[in-house]
């Protein structure tokens, strides 16, 4: 007769105890995950993922604000001066180093498309409308805690850690931008 036939074999008890516990833990984990995941964006929220914008009437120096996924997106048709200012900055001076070329599409340097949400704590920076302050680098100024962005939407001053996000976008034609 081996040990395992003993009714109170402690090793066997421990094994049963641990496997039962493990199965229960996995079950609780799987169920728990479904509770947590319901709070993530639902399918219909995800479905609102793209926005098309007609840019044919925009003049150089003009900006528009459009809504994409419930967030403001800034589209700016930059003037040659603004493009030059953005290209001439030494990248090593930047908090979040990126060249201007990394922030626009090749051949379409006029068009800057960025999500209009300050990377600090989510306010909408000012500077899209003609009467709004653009900050000392000619881009955007966030009124909440004073972050300043340049004409490529890069962070230059203030508490925001990173540049304004460039959303995925494509030119569906010469006059239409599809965001998302």
């Amino acid at each position: 007769m081996t040990d395992h036939s003993l009714p109170d074999n402690p090793a066997r008890r421990d094994f049963l105890y641990l496997t039962t516990g493990a199965v229960a833990a996995v079950g609780a984990g799987v169920t728990g995950w479904s509770f947590i995941d319901t709070m993530n964006p639902a399918a219909d929220t995800l479905a609102l993922a793209t926005t098309e914008v007609n840019i044919s009437s925009m003049q150089a120096g003009q900006s528009v604000v459009v809504t994409w996924q419930g967030k403001p997106v800034f589209i700016r048709r930059r003037t040659p001066d603004e493009i030059k200012a953005a290209q001439d900055v030494p990248v090593s001076e930047l908090r979040d180093p990126q060249t201007d070329a990394q922030r626009v599409q090749a051949g379409k340097e006029e068009w800057l498309v960025v999500v209009g949400i300050c990377t600090h704590l989510g306010c909408v920076p000012l500077g899209a409308k003609p009467n709004e302050p653009k900050g000392e680098y000619g881009g955007w100024f966030c009124p909440c805690h004073g972050s300043v962005y340049d004409t490529a939407g890069r962070i230059r001053k203030g508490p925001a850690p990173t540049n304004l996000t460039v959303p995925p976008y494509a030119f569906s034609s010469d006059t239409v931008i599809k965001i998302g």
Partner: protein, 490 residues
């Protein structure tokens, strides 16, 4: 709770219930004859006042919820309808809106009372921690409640505060999307905030129950901080303190009623009465007054934690540990003290230059020469979030930061005055939090933040070993008699 032998009640119905569930015995024991120190002052009113406010908030909230619509398109108008069209809706809303402020006033004074008289000290540590948990839950509840009217301040306040979590490395962004249930503060956010705003007050009730239970196990502290030694030191709770609480409550309710009837929007920003527009941020986002000190701490961290700051901080921290937290420096560290001092100063100077003097023209040349200036381990944004949460969590460990044998601030002048400084720093921070993030407010806020943390982490531990231990009266009774003799001579 009420075990053991039971005195029968005369009333037959009461006796019938009590012999099956001794709830009347319990009330009698905990609130009737409960032996309470006889020397309470009015600071001891505020726990009961906070309790009254909790009940008021739940009662007014449940009725408001019957008229409120938690939908982004309708929420603002439903709250306007409550104020304009629903019978006495204006009263309910202003009760609830100003009730939150009164609740926080009561709790802040209650916390101050605990700090001044050393109520957090042994054996009341757990009681104190439950208190801080209640405070945190209240903050979460009030924050989500403020979102419900879906005003400009609601939406943008919610955006700024939820975005704090994006500072957490790696998972931050995903966490914020999860909190929002979308890609911005929108209808799903409003829905869950309403559900949680309804739920959390009941969780607060449960923690309040534990808080009061723990209180009734160890008994109340009192202004002398001396434990009651016998019947001459205590009074039965009823009628002595039921009456005193009623009197305090009457005064408190006069203030509350004044706000509701004469200045219902005094404490609320105008932008809270403008519908939320996700495309336009208001010029100043200002939280409700009770959050301002913490908001100011958040904004005080305008600098990244560079390599220099971290090294100087660690070396300085070891020194503080040896000279403030410990009575005498640890033998093993002693030989390294000069080296630690040197490291603190050598790294401290570039750290300070990088953190606070970057914008000074005259120093720009010097600062540009500092090597490795761009390496930072904690970004300013994360630093601010850690400081803000840290400022509250540190309060929870106050019983272990302060190890001085004397409980009450009445017999600890050094502790008392530095504590008053702490309160002043919190008030200054509150003012700074209401101002735009510009000079000189930034520097003032940083100095006040320094004192806030300095008091908790350096001064209080140092006082534990270095403040002289005063000779205390032998008992509460003796202290009260001495006071009345002094008063009689005047």
């Amino acid at each position: 709770m009420a075990h053991g032998p039971r005195e029968p009640f005369d009333n037959k119905i009461v006796e019938w219930v009590d012999s099956r569930l001794p709830i009347f015995t319990m009330i009698q024991k905990e609130y009737g004859v409960f032996p309470t120190p006889k020397n309470f002052n009015y600071f001891w009113n505020f726990g009961a006042l906070a309790m009254v406010m909790l009940v008021t908030m739940i009662a007014s909230g449940v009725i408001l919820a019957m008229h409120y619509t938690p939908n982004a398109a309708m929420a603002f108008n439903s709250v306007e309808r409550i104020t304009r069209d629903v019978n006495y809706g204006w009263l309910l809303r202003y009760l609830h809106m100003n009730g939150a402020s009164m609740f926080f006033i009561a709790v802040y004074i209650h916390i101050f009372r605990g700090m001044y008289y050393g109520s957090y000290k042994q054996p009341r540590e757990l009681l104190w921690i439950f208190g801080i948990i209640i405070f945190l839950l209240m903050m979460a509840t009030a924050f989500m409640g403020y979102t419900l009217p879906w005003s400009q301040m609601s939406g943008w306040g919610a955006t700024v505060i939820t975005s704090l979590f994006s500072a957490i490395p790696v998972v931050g962004k995903a966490l914020v999307t999860w909190l929002w249930g979308g890609f911005s503060v929108d209808n799903p956010t409003l829905n869950r905030f309403f559900a949680l705003h309804y739920l959390l007050p009941f969780i607060i009730c449960a923690v309040v129950f534990l808080h009061v239970w723990a209180l009734h196990v160890v008994g109340s502290n009192n202004p002398t901080g001396i434990d009651p030694k016998g019947p001459q030191d205590t009074l039965p709770f009823n009628p002595y303190y039921t009456i005193k609480d009623m009197f305090g409550l009457s005064i408190f309710l006069i203030v509350y009623a004044f706000l509701i009837f004469y200045a219902p929007t005094l404490l609320t920003h105008q932008d809270h009465f403008v519908p939320f527009n996700p495309m336009v941020t208001p010029a100043h986002i200002v939280p409700e007054w009770y959050f301002l000190p913490f908001y100011a701490i958040l904004r005080s961290i305008t600098f990244d934690f560079t390599l220099y700051l971290i090294v100087a901080g660690v070396a300085g921290g070891i020194l503080i540990y040896n000279f403030c937290w410990r009575k005498t420096p640890c033998e093993k560290t002693k030989p390294f003290i000069p080296a630690l001092l040197a490291v603190t100063v050598l790294f401290g100077i570039p750290a300070m230059l990088l953190a606070f003097f970057k914008d000074v023209e005259a120093l720009k040349g010097v600062i540009a020469m500092i090597p490795l200036a761009n390496i930072h381990l904690i970004e300013a944004k994360l630093g601010g979030v850690l400081a803000m949460f840290g400022s509250i969590l540190l309060l929870a460990v106050l019983p272990w930061l302060d190890r001085h044998p004397v409980r009450s601030g009445r017999y600890r002048p050094w502790y008392r005055w530095t504590l008053i400084g702490f309160v002043v720093s919190a008030v200054i921070l509150g003012y700074i939090g209401s101002q735009p993030a510009e000079q000189p407010f930034i520097t003032i806020g940083q100095l006040a933040t320094l004192y806030y943390f300095g008091w908790l982490l350096v001064i209080v531990p140092w006082l534990s070993h270095n403040e002289p231990v005063a000779k205390l009266p032998n008992s509460i009774h003796e202290a009260v008699l001495a006071d009345s003799v002094k008063g009689g001579k005047k």
